[in-house]
Amino acid sequence: MAIRIQEEDFDVGAELAALRAGDARVGALASFLGLVRDVNEGAGVSEMTLEHYPGMTEKSLEKIVADARARWDIYDALVIHRVGRLLPCDQIVLVAVTSAHRGEAFAACEFIMDYLKTRAPFWKREATPEGARWVDARESDDSAAARWEGKEAG
């Protein structure tokens, strides 16, 4: 299990290859890649800056991945989240999970992403033609995370 917070970009292919390297138990690898869009809430976004809470970020992500491990039979998980200045089309976040079968891998990957969006202390500040603004949290993210509550692994 690896969690990395970094300013540098990452190579998705190399990261996914490394995650499953030499592990013949792995029959499924599910991944999610988040990217910077050039528009949000009706305004053009020319760049964004990601701030985080060093220490708590890693701690919260470790907890989220441990919760995913407790719910599903997964072998390994990787979370990479970039911070600092990012431009449209840049990669922001990669979550990848390995397991024997796709069901666990898909579910655990989505669970980690849903909780990352609502629990991990990252904040986005966007530069738009009307000036810079902090991105507002979405209620849809809360409901996405809430649907896992009280639900058994399936």
Binding site: G34, L50, E51, H52, Y53, G55, M56, K59, S60, H81, I92, V93, M113, L116, K117, T118, R119, A120, P121, F122, W123, K124, R125, W134, V135, D136, A137
Partner: protein, 82 residues
Amino acid sequence: MTVQVLYFAGLKETLGMPGESVQLPAGVATVGALRDWLVGQGRGSLATARNLRCAVNQDMAGLDAAVADGDEVAFFPPVTGG
């Protein structure tokens, strides 16, 4: 007791500082009481912030969470990563 207070994102910007070390009077023993005390010290944005979130020693906490000497208490807006 002494508590390390941290502010993030828009809150850090509005308050004009990333945090402060504060000496609390007796009776300020929860996150909510700490917030009210800080508002009294001029940190008004803690009272007006929408959906203010907090963490004690880097774990998400509610306003009723206990605060003890040496704790690190963070206040911030809802998170927007991913």
